[in-house]
Structures are given as C-alpha cells and as structure tokens.
C-alpha cells in the first residue's frame, strides 16, 4: 500500500513539474507551421494518394500555369510543330535532383514512360490518351509526340500531377505505378521527415536552381479536429491554414477570424464552382420537370448570405463567366417557390395534405442528398436545401458520409443528389469536362440518363482536339447550353480559397490552382 502511494506521489509530482514548465521562448522564426486535417500520405507525383500541396513543394513540371499564361519552368523554352502534334522542349541545364542526379532528357523520358505505363489510372486527363511517343533528342532536348493537336497540352503538363519529375533512383523496377522508394524531386523543398498522421518536415533545398526559399523549414502538422486547428492558430502554435471549400475552415469561423487582431485572413478570387449534382438516371430525378422545379426551389442568395457570409458569389451557371470559354449567356433560373410548385403540379406531383409531401402514382416525392460528413459547410448547406425543398413538398433526406463512402457512391451512381465542387482553374473547364467521360466520376453517372449523353461525350472529345479557337468556343457553348437546359447541376456559388495566417508571415498568396500553396514565396518578418 505504501509503495503504491509512493509511486502515485512520484508520478503526480512529475506530472505537475512537467506541467509547470514554461513554454518555449520565442525565437526568430525560420520554421513555418502549417496545419491540415490531412496527412501528406504517399506523395508519389505520378499517383493520386498524396496531398497535392505537398507534391507541389517537392516535384516540379516542365512548364507552369500562371495568371499570364504558361511560363517556362524546368523547360526553358519549347517549340510546337506546325501541325500541333509535336512539342520539343529545351530543358534547363542547371537543374539537379536533391539526391544529386542531373535533370536531363533521359530523366524526363523515364518519368513520362513511367506515367504512361499507368495510362488507365490517368485516363481522366485527356493528354494521357493523346501521347503517342516520347523521345530524347539530345541530353537537354526532349520531344513529345501526340495523336492530335491537343490544345490544353501545356496546361495539363503544368498540373500538380501526374507530369512532375521524381529522381529515377526512386523508381521501383523502372516504374512508379506500384509505389516509389523515395520522394526526391527538383523542387524548392526536400521532404526530410514524415511521421504518419503526425507531421511532415520539409527543409529548404539549398541546391535549388531557382530562387531559394526565405523560410528554412515547413512543418506540416496533422490536426484532425477543426476546432483544435482554430484554437492553435489563435494561440500562435501554427502559422498558416489554407484551404478551399469548407474542409479546412468554414465561413463562420473565417468571419470570426477576420475580426481578430491575432491573425490575418485572405480570400482568393472566385475559383471553383459549388453545385448540387442531380442524377438523371434515377427514378424520380430522371424527370426533367422535377429537375427544373429543384432549380427554382433553392434559395442560393440566402445560402450565400446566411451560410457563406457573403464570402462567395452567386452561381447561375455551372462555371463562372471568367472561366475560359464560359462567357456564355444562359437563361438564369431564379429562386421562385411558386414557379417550382407550379412545375410540380403540372407534372402530376400533387401535395398530400396529411403528409405535406407530393405524390404521383402512389409514389412519394422523396429524394436523397449525400455530402461529405467531414465538411461542416456542406452539412449546413444541405440542411438549408432540405428546408427549401420542404417548402415545395419534397422530402429531402440528407445523408453525411465519411469521404470513402461518399466517393464509392460517386463511382456507382447510387444517389439522387450529391454535393459537387469543380476543380477550379487551371482544370476548369477542359480537364473537368474531360472527366465527365470517366465511369468513376459522379458527373458521368449523373449524366447517364440524358438523351444525348453519347453526343455529349463525343463533343467533349472533339473540343479537346479542336485546333480552331472559334470552333472550339462554339462547341463549348453547345455542351454548356445543353447541360444547363437539362438541369443536371444546381449551381450554388463560386467558391474561394481561404487563408488564415500569422501576421508576421508575409507574401501569403495563391497559386493559380486552388490545390497548391505557394510556401516558396512566403517569409517571416521579425516579430515585434
């Protein structure tokens, strides 16, 4: 008994001693702590299992997408043949991987070949299907041959994945599709340490060919709980949170932090489209009149004002007019409860006064909307839509699912309505519409009930290889008009990327892609 009491006493004393230790003293910051709910996972740039922001830190592409168009990166220049089918890249001669391997045309070819060995996995990206061959012209000249003059070639080569370069020493049996041995790239950061579900430590690449980063280290902390992230940020334990949609920070929290003097906030320009996807092959939603009624029943303005705190702009079409090829005048489907009710009445869906739910041929108008349960914003928006639809006699069941189940449902098309977010520029519109043809995408499944689905898929294929810009714009107009007329999407808003950061952190901004974080540009000002 005495021994037990002694042991307890020692432990409690230790605990109290440890507890009363003062916190670390402030140092001049050379380490940026970034917090995310997600671990970086497998950052093999040729696969899709890792966080894109982390992949972008370590691995680079031949060219980059900027606001001012495509700019050189690992390729210092390029030439496109007259028929638009051959791209010849002159590579930089001063680039080395962080393991010392020289970046040359052989490495580029090996990387392209490794990516092409996994064509099916990259089928969402049309460029993969267009590449016929790759060729080393000389040590620093590389040639890419295409089937057709595919217009988004350079845009897709600049994307965060899969056309990024990893040291060939990391390959497994000359391949990357079954995993890699290491994560060595040419980028401004080197992944030094990774403790799964805890943190990843990136250090500055001192042999980087371009401007070296001002910050020495980036610590990617994994904090699964959103509230804990917010408290840590306000406490100063983390310097940056960054994210699109509501997966990192919802609008309420963002508005609250905007008023705080402990942190700074920034919003990107509208970047992606937030919409509700309507499944055209399901028993009830295959009826165009029902889809029409849904379009008029959702009060988008109230969602933007009440839930998104006016941080996003109202969406009347799937893509905003600022998206390339999307400046098309389409009829606006305003919020109009009476019109929605009239459409349903006319279509034979009559209100049952006992249940207040519409019925037709003995069938109740009950729909199911699925969303990602881990996204607080999606949940609130879904709840609001539920109340909107109740007003017109539709019983909307809302079901939050963990992400894997949500994705499974997308793939098998087992949904009436599903929450959807486009990928933003530079993926929108070409890569996003290209994915409409992929079986595993919710968009494909939802469009299956359309009479002209075959035409839609074929037109998308034509668009991607149309060399004449005017003709291409007309084809885009045709498919967007068709999708709009068929009411496959209820556009809600154009989302923005939100960033909250330590006030001493400077040059916090956005890349063109919402999935990349420009850590390399950031630096710390001396704390006062």
């Amino acid at each position: 008994m005495k021994l037990l009491l002694k042991t307890i006493f020692i432990c409690i004393t230790t605990l109290l001693f440890v507890a009363c230790q003062s916190q670390k003293e402030n140092k001049i910051k050379n380490e940026l702590i970034y917090a995310s709910t997600k671990d970086i996972r497998d950052i093999n740039p040729h696969l899709y299992g890792g966080e894109m922001a982390a992949q972008n830190m370590v691995f680079e592409s031949l060219v980059i997408n900027t606001k001012n168009g495509i700019k050189p990166n690992l390729a210092k220049s390029w030439k496109i043949s007259n028929n638009g089918k051959t791209y010849t890249f002159k590579l930089r001669e001063d680039v080395k991987f962080s393991d010392g391997l020289i970046f040359d045309a052989n490495v580029v070819k090996s990387n392209f070949d490794a990516i092409l060995k996994n064509r099916v996995r990259h089928a969402w990206l049309e460029l993969i299907n267009e590449i016929i061959s790759t060729k080393v012209i000389d040590k620093f000249t590389f040639e890419l041959n295409l089937k057709n003059a595919y217009y988004p070639t350079l845009t897709e080569l600049a994307m965060t994945r899969p056309f990024r370069f990893i040291s060939t020493k990391c390959f497994k049996n000359n391949q990357t599709k079954n995993g890699v041995k290491c994560y060595v790239g040419t980028g401004p950061w080197i992944l030094k340490e990774h403790k799964k579900n805890d943190y990843a430590l990136f250090v500055r690449n001192n042999n980087y060919w371009n401007n070296k980063t001002k910050i020495e280290k980036i610590k990617w902390r994994v904090i699964p709980n959103h509230q804990s992230i917010l408290l840590s940020l306000q406490k100063g334990e983390i310097d940056l949170i960054f994210g699109a949609d509501g997966d990192m920070i919802n609008s309420d929290a963002f508005s609250m932090l905007e008023k705080s003097n402990k942190v700074k906030t920034k919003l990107s320009n509208p970047i992606a489209s937030r919409a509700i996807l309507i499944n055209t092959k399901r028993e009830i939603t295959k009826d165009l009149e029902v889809r029409k009624a849904l379009e008029h029943a959702v009060n988008k303005q109230a969602i933007i004002k009440g839930i998104l705190n006016n941080k996003e702009t109202i969406a009347n079409t799937l893509f905003s007019k600022t998206t390339p090829y999307c400046n098309i005048d389409l009829p606006i489907k305003n919020f109009n409860v009476n019109l929605a009710k009239k459409i349903l009445d006319k279509d034979g869906w009559i209100i049952n006064k006992d249940t207040n739910i519409r019925e037709k041929d003995g069938k109740q108008l009950i729909l199911k909307l699925y969303y990602n349960a881990n996204n607080a914003q999606e949940k609130t928006i879904s709840e609001y839509i539920q109340s909107n639809l109740k007003d017109i006699g539709i019983d909307l069941k809302i079901i939050g699912e963990e992400k894997q189940s949500f994705l499974d449902r997308q793939q098998n098309g087992n949904f009436d309505l599903q929450y959807s977010l486009s990928w933003g520029v530079p993926y929108d519109p070409q890569s996003y519409i290209s994915s409409w043809r992929a079986l595993s995408h919710g968009d494909y499944q939802a469009q299956l009930g359309l009479n002209k689905k075959e035409w839609l898929d074929k037109t998308i294929s034509d668009i991607l290889i149309e060399t004449n810009k005017e003709k291409r714009a007309n084809l885009y107009k045709e498919i967007f008009s068709y999708i709009h007329k068929e009411d496959v999407y209820i556009p809600i808003s154009y989302s923005r990327t939100k960033v909250v950061y330590n006030p001493i952190l400077k040059d916090v901004g956005f890349n063109l892609s919402q999935y990349e974080i420009p850590f390399e540009k950031m630096y710390f000002e001396k704390s006062k």
């Binding site: 996994n118 408290l231 406490k235």
Partner: protein, 309 residues
C-alpha cells in the same frame, strides 16, 4: 487456487477464438470487397484483372474456412498481416502508435487513482457535509460532460487563454497533461462514487460497530474501512485500463496525438481491414487479460470466493 488460475487461463483460448471468428465474419460480411479496397487505397485502377490478381495475392480466392485458418496460423506466428494502405506490417503500424496511447493511459490512470481515491475517502469521511455535497454536485456535472466538449474547454482555458500547455500534438510529456485530464475526469467521478459508497457501507457494518465497542482507535478503524472498500475500487480500476486504452479515440483526434485511436479511425475510413481486425483483437485480448487479473486478485484476497469457485 492454482487450479482456478489454470482454468481461467485455459478459458482465454475459446474466448479469443470467438473474437477471431467475430472479427473475421465482420470483415467478410462487409459490402466493400477487400481486393477492391486494396487497389483503391493504393490508387491502382480497379479493373477485373487487377481485382483477380489482388484476390490471389491476399489469398481471397481460397474458401472462407481456409482463409480463416491461414489468418489464425499467421496470428499464432505473430504475423498480423500487411496494411492495405501503407503496405507495412500491421504490427509495426500498431506498435509505432502504441506508446503514445500507453503514456496517455498511464498518466490518466494515475490521475484517476490519486484523485479518485483521495476525494472518495474525504467524501466518505465528511459524509453529508457541505464538502461532500459540493463534490457530489461536481461529480454529477463532470460525469455528464461529453469528452470532446471538455477537451475544447480545457484547450481554450489552459492552452489558449493562460498559455500553460500546448493545445495539440506530441512534443513532450507536457503535451499529455490536458488529454490525460480530459480522459481521467469522467473516470475520477465514477471512482469517487465507488470508494465513497464502499466506505460508507463498511462504516455501517457490524464488524465496525464491534471494533468501535472494543475501543479501537479512529486511525485503525479508518484503515479497516479503506481496506474493505478498496476491493471494488481495484476491480473497477482493472477493468478501466483496457477501457482507457480503447477510449482514447476522440481525445487523440482533438489533441492531434498520433496514437492507436487515430490509427484505428483512419483504418476505418480507408477500410484497412488488417489493421481494424488486429486492433479489435488486441483490445479484446486486453479486456480478457485485465478481467483475469481482477478475478485472480479478488479470489486471492477473499478465501470465501476461492471455496465457492
């Protein structure tokens, strides 16, 4: 006594077999196909051929009974399988995360024993006084407080407002203070009640009346009361250890501690069945072992039960 212990140890075998059967059935009745899951979490395109190949690799093409037997024989050899997601042995995945959960549980356990015992005894000694009533009120409240809310409250007060502790992550033992307190508080309430009620019951028993009549000192009386009251406390404590280890899931998520709970939750999200199965099996084993220890301890302490058994 030794017969009893041997019998109880032998009983572990069918119990564990039962658990393995339940684990195996649960995974096999799940809608998701393990082969497809393996492909998906590794970002390999799911094709018929790929599924067939993975089925062969995982041994899923064999009859269920063969799969079960092969799983059991691997378990006996200490091979818990390979994680679908990381491709690392499950044992490594679990053992890497286990120390954090263990530290967290040990810290919590000491808080529970220390505060549960002291407050419980004080409440019994000052039965129905203002002190006892206030403590019981606090206990009533803390039992009802949800873990996650208490955790956020503690983070706000001690990490954010007073800046005494880190709010999350594991950077040293002081990272465990707030999570341990969160985890311990509900248990402390339970243990205070157990020890208080036991002492009060013992205080009113006949042998205490006789002892008082014999003129036994107050200190000796208290010693007897505590010795008698400690049995239910120890038994409950024993069963709390596996519960503590298994109950860290929410706490680890809020405080971003990379422990067993996080591994298990992540495994559930990505359907990493070998990890889920091993975690369930490990927890079942802990419950069985601590139950056995509690039984042995009670039998050793009370000879009447030995006779009964």
């Amino acid at each position: 006594m030794s017969n009893f212990i041997l019998k109880r140890i032998l009983l572990i075998i069918p119990l564990l077999l039962g658990v393995t059967i339940v684990c195996f059935i649960l995974v096999n009745i799940n809608q998701s196909d393990p082969a497809e899951v393996t492909l998906r979490v590794n970002n390999i395109t799911v094709t018929k051929e790929a599924i067939e190949e993975t089925r062969k690799d995982l041994g899923l093409d064999k009859p269920l009974i063969n799969q079960y037997l092969s799983w059991i024989s691997n378990l006996i050899k200490g091979n818990f399988g390979i994680s679908y997601e990381s491709k690392k042995p499950v044992l490594n995945e679990l053992s890497e995360a286990f120390p954090i959960t263990l530290y967290l549980s040990i810290f919590s356990l000491f808080l529970i024993v220390f505060f549960g015992f002291i407050i419980g005894v004080l409440c019994a000694l000052f039965e129905n006084t203002l002190f006892d009533k206030i403590v019981r009120g606090i206990i009533f409240t803390t039992t009802a407080i949800p873990n996650f809310w208490l955790a956020l409250l503690l983070i706000y007060t001690f990490a954010y407002y007073y800046n005494i502790f880190p709010s999350n992550g594991f950077e040293g033992l002081n990272s465990l203070v707030l999570p341990s307190i969160t985890l311990a508080i509900t248990y402390i309430s339970t243990f205070v009640r157990i020890i208080r009620n036991s002492i009060i019951q013992t205080k009113n028993s006949l042998f205490m009346t006789y002892a008082k009549a014999r003129g036994v000192s107050k200190y000796t009386l208290l010693k007897h009361q505590i010795r008698n009251a400690i049995a239910p406390f120890i038994v409950a404590l024993n069963m709390s250890i596996p519960r503590l280890l298994a109950g860290t899931v929410i706490i680890e998520n809020i405080f971003a501690l990379p422990g067993l709970g996080r591994v298990c939750v992540h495994a559930i999200f990505v359907r990493d069945y070998p990890i889920i199965q091993s975690y369930v099996l490990f927890m079942a084993l802990l419950f069985i072992i601590f139950n056995l220890i509690a039984d042995i301890w009670i039998i050793k302490r009370d000879p009447r039960l030995r006779h009964f058994n």
